[in-house]
Symmetry: C2
């Protein structure tokens, strides 16, 4: 399990052995239920207890933009900003030939189908800027351009960050991505 090393594992195991049996049974039951009930939204592939997730079902969310992310945790991160009111599409990974992940292993095909059918006004690619993330962004961008406007999130100085502490690549991107002051 991520973030659980041998010491933490032992601590957790001993903690569970100390708890009353009913409590341990409740935990085990909760794990089974969670695994049974939580699946992927049929529309956007975000984690969901229902066939269609809460975001896709929400009528106040704008159908005109689809924000494409690699993972469900990115949806959670973007939702925390409370800035985005459109829909999402979760790829379930990024293209990484070394790990044997091609476009067929992630939800690229359903995305193209969705975009060609729903004709959103804009698709925002919000994929982290690793080598694999860039490949995925460019690949999907090329496929979606015939259907709609494709944008990507901005790269540059993090807010609260200091110019002096930014790495050179980030600074170069911040310069390159400069915008006219309104």
């Amino acid at each position: 399990m991520p973030g659980v090393g041998p010491k933490t594992a032992q601590r957790l195991a001993l903690h569970i052995l100390k708890r009353p049996e009913t409590e341990v049974q409740a935990l085990a039951q909760a794990l089974i239920e969670a695994k049974k009930q939580i699946g992927l939204c049929k529309e956007c592939f975000h984690l969901s207890a229902e066939p269609i997730c809460e975001i896709c079902r929400n009528p106040s969310r704008d159908n005109k933009t689809i924000c494409v992310v690699a993972d469900s945790r990115d949806v959670i991160a973007l939702e925390k900003t409370r800035e985005y009111k459109g829909k999402y599409h979760v790829l379930g990974g990024v293209i990484s030939p070394i790990d044997g992940i091609g476009p067929e292993q992630i939800t690229v095909q359903p995305l193209i189908q969705r975009v060609s059918q729903q004709k959103p006004q804009e698709v925002i690619l919000a994929i982290s800027p690793s080598v694999e993330g860039e490949t995925t962004t460019l690949y999907i961008g090329q496929l979606l351009k015939p259907f709609t406007k494709v944008t990507r999130i901005a790269f540059g100085l993090p807010v609260g960050g200091d110019l002096e502490y930014a790495d050179e690549v980030t600074l170069a991107r911040a310069l390159e991505g400069r915008r006219e002051l309104d």
Copy 2:
């Protein structure tokens, strides 16, 4: 001195006491010389041993853009990217009323004079996005707009950063600053 606490100070002092006298005299002399020789460039206010700094004197640097930064260390950081070929202007601080720093305490006036005389095609404001930095950017932007195109560097996800670990304000800025994929 920045980054030197009581322990480091003691270690440095004891180290100096152990060195031969000639060496200590050479260090002392070097400090005096540095202080005597390094001043501010008359053109851009970057640190310089000459009246006009190396960047301002370099004929291969483009006169059409001036990049405005808070501090000389920001010039050094931007130079490391090897992406920027224009000139600089060092403000020598940011506007911070709490610390008693108004526009008169930094080199805003010389900047406006320089821009109105040299008529660059673009002024890039590359000031860190703190509250004071934002104030300074907006203030200078308003003053320079009558003379030239004013841009600011991009804010968003740092390169190599992960969406999941970005703070909400940075993510919101990255979304807001999204650009069309070329």
